[in-house]
Every structure is written in C-alpha cells, then in structure tokens.
C-alpha cells in the first residue's frame, strides 16, 4: 500500500532535489543557478524532463547493447529497493525485515554492477577507466561500510531498522558510535560516488567517466540512481545514528514522520554542501585513506564497542 506513493514520491523528490541542489550550489558559489522556469526555477525539473525525453536515445553501435541498457536500470532499481526497508515512522515501513540492514548492504553492493557494466558496455576508454575506478572504490568502501554499522547492531542487538531506532530512545547512537558515524558517512559518500568522491566520473580527467556514452533517459536513470542514493544514505544516517523519528519530548507536537523528514533533509543538505566546498582527492589518496586509515579505525571501533557492551552486562 505504501509502495506506489513511496516510489512516486521519491522520484518527485529527486526531480526537485536536482533543481534545489543546483540552486544551493549557485548561492554558495556566488552565482544564480537555474532560476527561470516557474517560481524561482521550481519547475526546472519538468523542463529537464521534457528535454531528456525528446532527446535521441542513442545506443553506441560499438558497445555491448544488452549490458548498456541493463546498467542504468541496476543503478536506479537497486537504490530504490532499499527504500522498502526504511521505516519513516513507527508503522510506516513496507517490510520490517529482521535483516533490513543487510538488505541495504546487499543492494548497495549490487549497485556496483550498474556502474561497472555501464562503463564496460560503453566500450570507450574513459568509460572503462571510470568504471574500473568505481568498482575498486565501491568494493573498498563497502568493506568498512558494513563493519562501521556493526557497532550500532551490537548496541541495538538487531538488524531490524525499527528495533535499532527504538533502541535509541534513551540516547542517540551518535554518542557511543561517533567513530562509526564518521566512517559510515564517508563510506556512504564513496558508495554514492558523489563529490568529493566522484572519481568514477571525474570530469576533468575522464570526460564523464562511466557514463560518458549515456544520453537521454538512460542518463536520467543513472542520475536518478545517484540522487536516490543520497536520499537513502541520509535516511540510514538518521535511522542508525540520530534516532530516526524519535525526538525529545518537548518537540513531540509534530508527527514522527515530519521529524524524520526534517533530519533527512539536513543530511541531504550536508551532501550538497560537501559537493560545493571540498575538492576531489587524488585516486590513490582515496584508496589509501580507505585501506590504511578507515579500515583499521573501524576494526578498533568494533573491538572497543564489543568490549564495552560486554563489560556493561
């Protein structure tokens, strides 16, 4: 029952988000951004949609057609599937699985295929380099993305996102799991390959990386997957570390879903701000940050969390 409104709502949110992101970037970078279509440019998404639908949906004759079509579908669908396990309010969830968190990890690991195949099927050297980078980056950051949220699982004693939120009634997990939060945030950024970690695209060196050959609605699907990934990652940050829909009692006057939405919006804005503020690192810097700093830190965090939780019992 929730499925259709959620899917449509997310796609609409993506449409407005891409406009809003460009407006915000414009303000932060002292320019105007798209402000012509509708009130302050609100309808820019509609204009872009019409443009993309009427564009020639080109298939590269030198590439692998089947995989070329499949790739954007995987990127977008895998991220949309994660929405199935996200609880927006105590009873607003499509499926409260007891493996919800693993479902998220599974879907984000399947998203790698979209990027990988997209670049490979394009049969273009920039695209191939981009998707090789994407594969290495996403597999690397997946490792400790999974490990960094195990601290939360230890505290909550469950993989179910509803249980995890309810376990934060006394204290949000950002306090005991601050390290986990930082690592999960960086990993989420790398998984959704947004700036500053958008090395798979890196337009100054790889044209547009893995989606160089994409145009028309297939390009829209790829972009849509990226924005849904931003929304999903923000939702998970809120659910895992900031108490989901829970707020202190004096703020109880609004329904829980509103508070959840507000918290998610804050993180979406942080993602946009990061894009505006931070330059892209070099590729080897990204990889050595992952393997040499974040992975050991995650393991230490996991050990310490286990130690203190067992100490407390």
């Amino acid at each position: 029952m929730l499925i259709l409104p959620l899917a449509v709502g997310t796609l609409l949110a993506v449409m407005f988000l891409q406009w809003w992101e460009r407006r915000l970037l414009g303000w932060w970078q002292d320019r105007r951004g798209p402000n012509r279509v509708g009130w302050f440019g609100v309808l820019q998404g509609v204009a872009d949609g019409i443009k993309f639908i009427t564009k020639d949906d080109w298939l590269p004759p030198f590439g692998d057609r089947a995989l070329f079509i499949l790739a954007p579908v995987i990127v977008c669908a895998s991220m949309m599937f994660v929405l199935a396990v996200i609880p927006f309010a105590p009873d607003m969830v499509i499926a409260d699985l007891n493996i919800a968190l693993l479902w998220f990890l599974a879907m984000s690991s399947l998203a790698v295929y979209g990027v990988l195949l997209g670049g490979f099927a394009s049969n273009n050297k920039y695209a191939l380099l981009g998707s090789l980078r994407a594969a290495a980056q996403m597999v690397t950051y997946e490792v400790f993305m999974g490990l960094s949220i195990m601290g939360v699982v230890i505290h909550a004693g469950s993989f179910s996102l509803v249980d995890i939120v309810e376990a934060q009634a006394d204290m949000w997990f950002i306090v005991p799991q601050f390290l986990g939060f930082v690592i999960f945030f960086l990993a989420g950024l790398a998984e959704s390959h947004r700036l500053p970690f958008d090395l798979p695209e890196a337009e100054h060196e790889l044209t547009a990386g893995f989606h160089t050959e994409y145009s028309g609605m297939k390009f829209v699907l790829l972009m849509c997957g990226e924005y849904v990934a931003v929304i999903v990652t923000s939702c998970l940050l809120v659910l895992l570390f900031f108490g989901g829909w829970l707020v202190p009692e004096f703020l109880d006057f609004l329904p829980p879903v509103v508070w959840f939405g507000a918290k998610v919006l804050v993180f979406v804005h942080v993602f946009v701000l990061l894009r505006a503020a931070i330059p892209r690192p070099r590729y080897d810097q990204l990889m050595s940050l992952g393997w040499k700093i974040l992975l050991p830190l995650t393991l230490v965090n996991l050990l310490a969390t286990g130690f203190f939780v067992l100490w407390g019992t």
Binding site: D64, N98, A106, S109, V112, Y113, L116, A135, V139
Partner: protein
C-alpha cells in the same frame, strides 16, 4: 501451491541461468548470469526460512566476489580473438569425459535425494534469524570458524607478499 511456486520459480531461474553461465562465450555475459543464479539461490534461502544466509549470499557472493571476477575480465578486455581461441580449444569431443563423470555424480545425488523422507518440506520449517546463526557459529562450529580465519589470514599474508614483490621490482626499475 504458492509455497511450491515460491520454491520452483527461483529454482528454475537458478538452473537456467547456471546453464547459461557455462554456455555463454562472452565472459562478461556469463558472469551476469552467474549473478542472476546467485540471486535466485538467495531467494531460495529466503523462502526456506534462512534470511541471514540469503542476505550474505547477495552481499558476499553476488556483491563482492563476482564483482572482482568482472573486474578482472574488464582489465583483460578480451575480444573476439580470445573467443575464437577458446572455441578451438574446446572441441566437441572434449565434452564426453566430463559429461560421463557429471552424470555419475548426478545419479548418486538423485539416489540420495530420493532416499530422503517425504516430510522434509521447506516452507514448513522454522525461521533461522541472524542471532541463531551467530549462536551456532560461535558455539558448536567455533573450530570451523577459527580454521576459516586461519585460512583467510594466510591468504592475506600471501597476497601482501605477492604485492610487495611487485612494488619492490617497480621501485628498483
């Protein structure tokens, strides 16, 4: 009836896609069918009441290991020439002995499965959650977990050794 369909549909998908993994000439297409096959097996695990195993099947096999396979295939970027070379190696006569051996294995497996009592149906079983798996792994199967740990550590040290030799050679050059 629905129970049976829930089992037979993913089972059929797994069989067909595994067949395609073997017969595809294009290595990257074969790997995609392998992913489909793994996903179908994950669905079967889920239907049988083992959601944790299903999730790990997707995260580890479909999401990590096959990605690395695909990564290597992409790096090698095999073209038409390697397809031709492979079809030269694999003459029809090559398939006789493997087919005989596999048929023998299949017969043994069918015989063993036929001997099972009829009431071991799948969807009637209990749900095995993540906690139950953990308790079993670190209870009766602790030794196996530790041995797997040794093996992985050895693999890690081996990989480091190979990588370091490469780095040293490059530094000298």
């Amino acid at each position: 009836m629905t129970d049976l369909l829930l089992f037979w549909i993913p089972a059929a998908v797994a069989l067909v896609s595994t067949g395609l993994v073997i017969t595809r000439r294009n290595a990257s297409h074969a790997l995609i069918y392998l992913v489909v096959s793994l996903l179908a097996i994950a669905v079967i695990f889920f239907v049988l009441g083992a959601p944790f195993a299903a999730a790990l099947e997707v995260v580890i096999y479909a999401g990590a290991i096959v990605v690395l396979f695909l990564f290597v295939v992409m790096m090698l970027n095999l073209g038409q020439s390697s397809v031709l070379r492979e079809s030269r190696w694999l003459r029809p006569g090559m398939w006789v002995l493997p087919a005989v051996l596999v048929t023998a294995l299949l017969l043994v497996m069918v015989y063993a499965l036929a001997g099972l009592p009829d009431n071991t149906t799948m969807t009637k079983g209990v749900m095995v959650g993540p906690q139950a798996v953990g308790i079993e792994l670190f209870g009766p199967y602790l030794l196996a977990v530790e041995l797997a740990g040794f093996l992985l550590l050895a693999a890690l040290v081996g990989a480091y050794h190979l990588g370091r030799r490469y780095l040293e050679e490059r530094r000298e050059a």
